[in-house]
């Protein structure tokens, strides 16, 4: 079965650079979520989109922005990168058409900021 795809899987950037992470949800899933997991930390919710509109916002820094496109894929844009942005970034998708809003997680993108 198709799963959530994230690209790239690994990304190395330097301070003050920008990064773009991509997430391709499971087909027919209409909602995308982004989570950030710092080293040794639990995943923290950043932001979510439903039908291309932002549906909820968590602890996402102002330097970050995200959007969901017409094909339901989502991109997380990160600017002025800081060392503390080094983390594993997960994307999850779900379908509101189901009875339960179960989220399916992608493998994550590991971002390293040098």
């Amino acid at each position: 079965a198709a799963g959530v795809i994230q690209s790239p899987r690994h990304l190395i950037k330097e301070k003050r650079e920008t990064a773009t992470l991509k997430c391709y949800p499971i087909p027919r899933h209409d909602t995308v979520y982004w989570y950030q997991q710092g080293p040794g930390q639990d995943p923290q919710f950043l932001i979510s989109f439903y039908e291309k509109m932002q549906s909820d916002k968590g602890s996402i820094p102002d330097r970050f922005s995200a959007q969901q496109f017409s094909d339901y894929h989502s991109e997380l844009n990160m600017s002025s990168l800081e060392l503390g942005d080094s983390a594993l970034y997960f994307c999850a998708s779900s379908s509101t058409g189901g009875i339960y809003n179960e989220q399916f997680f992608g493998p994550g993108t590991r971002l390293t900021v040098l």
């Binding site: 979520y33 989570y35 930390q41 639990d42 995943p43 979510s48 909820d56 997960f90 994550g108 590991r110």
Partner: protein
């Protein structure tokens, strides 16, 4: 706000021994509850979930969890631990916004 606590930061058990990982949540209604496992440097793998119905839930890899409303708990159990079970385990609650709130995680070490 919803919160999830996992009182044990690190647990060490011998291979073949039984295991119980604790999870407590703070939530106004009966939430949707999940347990995920994460191997070092890897993504999150769903072990099991509880939405409603039978409070004892069976998952993959021989894990089970029991939802106890009176204790606001959703503890994960396994009767006999294997060395490959060594990993980080996260309990999660789906909150009102349908986003996940994760617990801090419990790191499981398995002794041969």
């Amino acid at each position: 706000a919803q919160s999830v606590t996992q009182p044990d930061i690190h647990i060490t058990v011998s291979e073949g021994a039984s295991l119980e990982l604790r999870c407590n949540y703070s939530y106004g209604a009966t939430p949707y509850l999940f347990w995920y496992v994460q191997s070092p440097g890897q993504g999150l793998q769903l072990l099991l979930k509880y939405f409603s119905g039978d409070t004892l839930v069976q998952g993959i890899k021989g894990f089970e969890a029991e939802f106890k409303r009176s204790q606001s708990s959703f503890n994960l159990r396994k009767p006999s631990v294997h060395w490959s079970d060594a990993a980080e385990y996260f309990c999660a609650v789906e909150d009102y916004g349908q986003n996940f709130v994760f617990g801090p995680g419990t790191r499981l070490s398995v002794l041969p």
